[in-house]
């Protein structure tokens, strides 16, 4: 068991190293001729106006909030799904009620127009 995670850890380091080393080699091989005009921020043929870390509309936040609700509830559903084959009928019914509550939450968000991209 621990060996498995050791493998995953080693693989993660290697998966990061392979592109990292390739980029480092390319950095050694490539020409370096910095130029203020070259490294200026691109913005549609004009110079950048104001800071580039701009504000965004609240809709992104609302979608992330809905996502968070659903994702946390899927975390609760995964153990139920793994044990599904051994569960008695009543426990399955409970899971179904849980999914129905989720569906109710989706309908609520829909009716409150939280799913509109305006």
């Amino acid at each position: 068991m621990l060996n498995d995670w050791l493998y995953v850890g080693v693989f993660f380091v290697i998966a990061m190293l392979l592109p990292g080393v390739a980029i480092a080699i390319a950095g050694l091989l490539s020409p370096k001729k910095p130029d203020p005009a070259k490294s200026s921020t691109y913005e549609c043929g004009i110079e950048t106006v104001g800071p580039s870390w701009v504000q965004f509309k609240a809709q992104y936040y609302i979608f992330t909030l809905i996502f968070l609700v659903f994702d946390v509830e899927t975390v609760l559903l995964f153990p139920w799904a793994v044990a599904y084959n051994q569960l008695p009928f009543f426990a399955i019914l409970e899971g179904i009620v849980f999914v129905l509550i989720l569906l109710g939450g989706l309908v609520y968000a829909w009716r409150k127009r939280a799913l509109e991209w305006i």
Partner: protein, 402 residues
């Protein structure tokens, strides 16, 4: 004794292990070196394979668009990606002014790593796999989140408004599509009773695409969206936000975003054929386990062909259409599929044939009902918010004077 047609990798590993023990290495060190070598092998092969994938996809896209695709360098242009790779290796890195250096440089590395990590848990044959994690599916979902993080880092670190827009769109799009994806992944977990990928393959006496056709469809659509390819490539929509999150990248850093995208496309086909098409299962895999690898490759290339066809034939979505598709169609559909499977799979588990037929038919019925309901409730026309203005007519006076 392992025979070559059972598991060649294990054969080589055993030989190496014996060799290292013969050199007087302690068992633990030898094990660790073997792990290291195996991981390095599994990491390098997909990256090299990606060169072939780029050629394959360009060739196929060319055929779809009625042209030849690369056909100059080498036979059928097969050396074109090598030439491109050599070229991109000697390109200058241009870092934009005021970029946040750490996230900016970390992003391309992380986006490749997130895709490579998935390969660690995919079973290539009965015994050939990186590691048989008992939480393999959760691991795969987590890797998807890591890829999303890479895009957000790229958008944030570039100090560019378009890049930031692309990053924010990634938040909206990829996060949203994760919900139906996870829901559709719950169905194979329920049917097999395990989160381990190899266990799911072993339990698939009937491919899950028959037991859960709607879940398979949802997984296909959402994983294409997750890989950020057409028709879901709003994160890097050229006609709207220049190049999105990779606007300010150049050279190999830009190249690695592309490598990650191509490899991701192949990886999702690999996952799809593993989870829904039976993976390495096929006739005679008990006698010759290596055949399982061949079956998996064939299945994967069929799905990969579909992914490319998907990309080549559909126009890009508008962002509100894309969010509507996800939240108002795919999410309810995935929840309904979950309910259907929960209600039918367990009571009918004694009769496999009846279970398969019932699940298949009820799933299709749910799909048809929900689609027709969506067709009625969500008309494709835009709402008219203002009257159309009269067209400009040429002024009579001007015409006379001219």
């Amino acid at each position: 004794m392992t025979l070559w047609y059972e598991d060649p990798i294990k054969l080589i590993a055993n030989w190496l292990f014996g060799l290292m023990l013969g050199w007087g290495m302690p068992v633990d060190t030898a094990n660790f070196v073997l792990t290291l070598l195996g991981a390095a092998f599994l990491g390098v092969v997909p990256l090299l394979f990606c060169i072939f994938l780029i050629w394959y996809e360009r060739k196929l896209l060319g055929r779809i668009q009625d042209r030849f695709g690369p056909n100059r360098v080498g036979p059928w242009g097969i050396f074109q990606p090598f030439a491109d790779m050599l070229k991109i290796f000697i390109k200058e890195f241009i870092t934009p002014q005021g970029a946040d250096v750490v996230p900016y440089n970390l992003a391309p590395i992380l986006s490749v790593a997130s895709v490579l990590l998935i390969w660690a848990v995919v079973p290539f044959s009965m015994t050939m796999m990186g590691v048989n994690l008992n939480v393999g599916l959760s691991f795969i979902i987590g890797c998807g989140g890591l890829g999303l993080l890479a895009i957000i880092l790229a958008g944030y670190g570039s100090n560019n408004k378009y890049a930031l827009l692309g990053g924010m769109r990634a938040v909206a799009q990829l996060i949203s599509y994760e919900v139906p994806m996870v829901m559709s992944l719950l169905v194979p977990v329920m049917l097999s009773g395990s989160l381990g990928v190899n266990d799911i393959v072993q339990k698939q006496t009937v491919p899950y695409i028959i037991l859960a056709p709607v879940a398979a469809l949802i997984f296909f659509i959402t994983s294409v969206a997750e890989s950020g390819r057409a028709p879901f490539d709003l994160v890097e929509a050229e006609s709207e936000i220049v190049a999105g999150f990779n606007t300010e990248y150049s050279g190999l850093k830009f190249g690695f975003f592309f490598v990650a995208e191509f490899l991701h496309a192949f990886t999702i086909s690999l996952l799809f054929s593993t989870l829904f098409l039976g993976g390495w299962r096929g006739p005679f895999t008990d006698q010759v386990p290596l055949l399982g690898f061949v079956y998996l490759v064939v299945k994967t290339f069929i799905v990969y062909f579909l992914v490319i066809l998907f990309r080549g034939s559909l126009p890009r979505f508008r962002i509100d259409q894309m969010m509507d598709l996800n939240w108002k169609l795919l999410t309810p559909l995935s929840l309904v599929t979950l309910l259907i499977t929960a209600l039918l799979a367990n009571p009918l588990s004694g009769m496999p044939l009846l279970q398969a037929v019932a699940l298949f038919l009820v799933n299709l019925a749910a799909l048809v009902v929900l689609m027709s309901w969506a067709e009625r409730k969500m008309p494709r026309k835009r709402k008219i918010v203002a009257k159309t203005r009269p067209l400009a007519t040429p002024n009579q006076q001007d015409q006379l004077s001219a």
